[in-house]
């Protein structure tokens, strides 16, 4: 097929890259591939092209850029709360729309953001607000603001279906620092009453992000947390 230094054959390059992406569980649509090929020099080494393709694809909305099949998407009734439990093999590729730390009160998360806004986390300007106790080897330092997780994620498959998922045990890379639009591949997981339960062995993080979504998420975060906490903004 395609040799190491690029024979320049558009068809061969397209096929090679498509196969590579499909193997990564993000099979591109023909339209996307065509658009991609038009932006590259065909005699670039194929490995570099594959990497670039993956990087760019991970920055897109998979509902438009990837091909869908019954096997690679959620069953349409997956969110049915009547179903106590079901096992799903996958692999199913999803993108992250929202992430929440449900182990901490929203209000304490708002306070943490405000402290950062006030510049208290920049070096030299730190303000220490919680002073630990010296109590012995068994001292439990109850520091609410430090706890992280578990996290609840809002995921979307290539069909556009929204499903919630939750970490059963801590998964590396999952947290409120995740980029919105990041892609994950889920396999061999349980869905309980419409909620996906995840453990490290179920998740492969592909990465990526959708700039516009991520920016908006960050801008709105404080407001959203406040609403969830139940703060009624002043005025009328």
């Amino acid at each position: 097929m395609a040799s190491g230094n690029g024979t320049g054959n558009a068809e061969e390059v397209t096929a090679s890259i498509s196969a590579f992406l499909a193997a990564k569980h993000v099979p591109p649509t023909q339209a996307w591939m065509t658009a991609f090929i038009s932006t590259i020099r065909l005699n670039t080494p194929i490995v570099a092209l594959q990497k670039t393709a993956l990087f760019r694809l991970l920055a897109t909305d998979i509902t438009t850029s990837t091909t869908k099949s019954a096997a690679s998407c959620f069953a349409t009734n997956i969110t049915d709360p009547q179903v106590k439990e079901r096992q799903v093999r996958g692999p199913i590729t999803v993108q992250l729309l929202d992430v929440e730390d449900i182990g901490r009160s929203r209000w304490s998360q708002v306070e943490a953001i405000e402290a950062q806004e006030r510049g208290e986390t920049t070096k030299g300007r730190e303000v220490i607000r919680v002073v630990p106790d010296d109590n012995g080897p068994d001292a439990a330092t109850q520091n609410e603001s430090k706890s992280s997780g578990p996290h609840k994620l809002l995921l979307q498959d290539a069909n556009g279906l929204h499903v919630y998922a939750m970490e059963l045990t801590s998964i590396n890379g999952v947290g409120v620092q995740m980029a919105v639009g990041a892609k994950l591949v889920l396999k061999d997981f349980i869905v309980a009453r419409g909620l996906i339960l995840l453990e490290p062995r179920n998740v492969e993080m592909l990465g990526g992000k959708v700039d516009a979504w991520d920016r908006k998420w960050k801008e709105d975060r404080k407001k959203v947390l406040k609403e969830k906490a139940g703060v009624r903004e002043g005025g009328g």
Binding site: K84, E100, I102, G103, R104, S105, R106, W107, E111, R118, G119, E120, G124, R125, E126, V127, I128, R129, V131, D134, N135, G136, P137, D138, Q142, S147, P150, K152, Y164, M166, L168, A192, R193, L195, L197, A229, G230, V231
Partner: protein, 686 residues
């Protein structure tokens, strides 16, 4: 030829005590013209350095000189406040100190050696140099090194003083310079900002409150960050929004014991998630024991006592605010009962004979038996903390004194110091802790049991609590059972409390504002200036699992050691003023909390609104100043450098404040609202 030595202490009581220790009672006392408190004590002493000497010991009354701006700047209208950053500062002797200074000058002429006996801290070093400069006016030769020396001492106990007298050292110029820098900065920055703030806001405040009395808005570079902490907490409490949370509780009865298991996740803020997890537990039906571990555990004895710790404990346990605690401690020090109460050191020097100190406490007091037991083999070297200011040891009792001969307040503080010291010299309390974990569905639950095997230090230190929990039944790893009861519960987050004094002290300490010597003063200042008010904490804002706190005995009964149950089992009503059940008197229930006044809030909010660079209510500017002080002490910076750097920083803030004065006025105007409202923010009930 007998050498004549002039000794000068910081306070009359110290002069008297030292004179009597050195002279063995053979002292001639002479009055000082113009002041009834200061005396000159004359005696003979053989100093190793100079041989047989004729000694005159006298004292000053704290700082001998004070600093003022050149008279042309005295009136507020005489210049723009920012001129004070550069205005000339004069060193003067105030009228009430003139007789004291004259006495020193006169005596100086007759003496060959000047021996400084001020307290051994930075302020003392600075006072020492003031004394030297005044004495030099009466005797030029004191300027030469070797003719002025200094005593190094940490308490007023006889042997210690005699030892100190025989090994004089040099005055530490660096430390004195640090204090000079601080004095100059506080004066320049304090005055310029105070004038500016007052003149800018006063007309508007007066208009609003309709009062004739013109209010000065005083600024201090340490007061504002202290106020900042109080206001911040106040606003946090006011803005707090309670949120619902959910948890899972598992209880299993075995061997007729009801064991409560706690969910490893604690609680979650998503109801759906918890319901689903809970259902999976129920579906699993049985739980499996995954861990059974019994291991020895201990509750550490306390660290040696520092000033900050004394202030915190004073607030929590002794019902004395930090300023009062320090005043009482100072009295105890001057009388020779405890060591110097201003120290950051929380480790005892290995060479110190602690047993001898314990021995002294076997002579009486409610801790006699405990001290005796320590002497009979129970003694254990105290823990070492991480701090050592190299100037003084941790606060400890220096001599035995019959408690009844002290005033009520002195007794409380003294008792605390003694008990703390004896606790430091005992063993940690020992126990055995059993931890059990179970896996129920996908969820982990834990429980633990504690058996306290040896009280050890807790027997003399009732301020700490540690009690055995109920017995746990036997569980085996791998054991499977069906929990007796499993249910979901719902709760709510609750707001933090307003700042209490111990918390405020801890925050000031952690953020580097104020030194151990000054923290109490800053807190007192913001109360004085009506920026904050205090009130007793009415409701018990206790965190889950926290034990009840120690309460001092009310009556004259000195035997506080009897009955460990003293602190526990006292029914505290939730809501309303609980505590004090059955104890007479209208005593307040424990700690005081700080509430800012409207003016206090206005100032902080006003500055916050002006933005980050001008934030006088944040600790970092002051913290940097404190660090620069330290640099002077350690010889890394000169006084001139530090004064210059800090002035520039504050000048910058001053300019920005000027530019945004309107914003400050706006907030102050809004908050210090309608005529008649006097600045008190919280009235009565919540």
């Amino acid at each position: 030829m007998v050498t004549k030595v002039l000794c000068v202490a910081e306070k009359p009581s110290i002069a008297k005590a030292v004179a009597n220790h050195l002279a063995g009672g053979q002292v001639q006392t002479r009055n000082v013209q113009g002041n009834p408190y200061v005396k000159n004590y004359e005696f003979s002493y053989n100093f190793p350095t100079w041989g047989q000497c004729s000694v005159t010991m006298t004292s000053v009354l704290g700082h001998l000189t004070s600093h003022e701006f050149d008279p042309q700047y005295k009136s507020w209208r005489s210049c723009d406040p920012s001129a004070l950053f550069e205005a000339r500062i004069d060193t003067i002797v105030e009228d009430d100190k003139k007789p004291v200074a004259e006495n020193i000058k006169r005596q100086a002429a007759y003496n060959k050696v000047l021996y400084i006996w001020t307290d051994c801290d930075r302020e003392g070093e600075n006072i020492g140099t003031e004394i030297r400069s005044v004495a030099t006016q009466g005797n030029q030769s004191f300027r030469q090194p070797g003719n002025t020396v200094r005593a190094r001492f940490s308490n007023i106990e006889r042997a210690h003083i005699i030892n100190a007298a025989r090994s004089p050292v040099q005055l530490d110029e660096a430390q004195s310079n640090a204090v000079s820098a601080r004095i100059e900065l506080d004066l320049r920055i304090g005055a310029s900002f105070t004038r500016n703030l007052t003149m800018s806001l006063q007309p508007m405040l007066q208009q609003r409150s309709g009062e004739d009395r013109s209010q000065v808005i005083s600024y201090g570079s340490c007061q504002f960050p202290t106020l900042g902490f109080v206001v911040e907490r106040y606003i946090r409490v006011r803005n707090f929004v309670p949120e619902t949370l959910w948890g899972i509780k598992v209880m299993h009865e075995k061997d007729r014991i009801k064991v409560n298991f706690n969910w490893a996740r604690g609680h979650l803020f998503d109801r759906m998630a918890v319901i689903i997890l809970f259902e999976r537990c129920l579906t699993a039906k049985t739980a499996r024991v995954t861990k059974v571990q019994t291991k020895p555990t201990s509750k550490w004895k306390p660290l040696p006592l520092t000033t900050v710790e004394l202030q915190k404990c004073g607030s929590r346990f002794l019902r004395l605010d930090s300023q009062r605690v320090m005043q009482v401690a100072e009295q105890l020090y001057q009388k020779g009962w405890i060591s110097y109460p201003r120290t950051e050191t929380d480790q005892f020097d290995r060479g110190m004979d602690l047993r001898a100190l314990v021995q002294k406490q076997t002579q009486g007091g409610p801790w006699t038996q405990f001290a005796q037991d320590l002497m009979n083999g129970g003694f254990s070297q105290p823990r070492s903390g991480r701090n050592n200011d190299k100037a003084h040891p941790p606060i400890h009792p220096v001599n035995f004194v019959v408690p009844a001969s002290l005033s009520q307040e002195e007794q409380r503080v003294h008792e605390f110091v003694v008990r703390r010291f004896l606790a430091c010299c005992s063993q940690d309390a020992r126990g055995s802790k059993t931890e059990i974990s179970i896996l129920y569905g996908s969820e982990i639950f834990n429980t633990s049991g504690l058996v306290v095997l040896e009280q050890n230090y807790l027997d003399v230190y009732p301020y700490d609590k540690w009690t055995s929990s109920q017995d746990l039944p036997d569980f085996r790893e791998g054991e499977v059972f069906e929990p007796t009861e499993a249910r979901m519960n719902e709760g709510q987050t609750s707001p933090p409390g307003y700042l209490t004094e111990p918390e405020l002290i801890a925050l000031m300490d952690a953020n580097g504002i104020g030194t151990d010597a000054t923290m109490a003063e800053h807190i007192a200042k913001i109360k004085d200036r009506d920026y904050v008010q205090t009130r007793p904490r009415a409701r018990q804002q206790r965190q889950q699992g926290e034990e009840e706190e120690y309460e001092p005995a009310e009556a004259a009964e000195p035997d506080a050691g009897a009955g460990r149950g003293r602190g526990r089992g006292r029914a505290r009503a939730r809501g309303g003023r609980g505590g004090g059940a059955g104890r007479g008197g209208g005593a307040t229930t424990g700690v005081q909390e700080f509430i800012p006044t409207t003016l206090g809030v206005a100032l902080v909010e006003g500055y916050e609104n002006m933005g980050f660079e001008t934030s006088l209510t944040k600790p970092f500017l002051r913290k940097e100043m404190e660090l620069r002080m330290k640099a002077i002490c350690e010889g890394r910076k000169t006084k001139a450098e530090v004064v210059h750097e800090s002035i520039e920083q504050y000048r910058d803030v001053y300019i920005r404040t000027q530019q945004r004065l309107d914003s400050l006025r706006a907030v102050t105007g809004t908050l210090v609202g309608t005529p008649g409202q006097n600045g008190i923010l919280v009235s009565g009930t919540e």
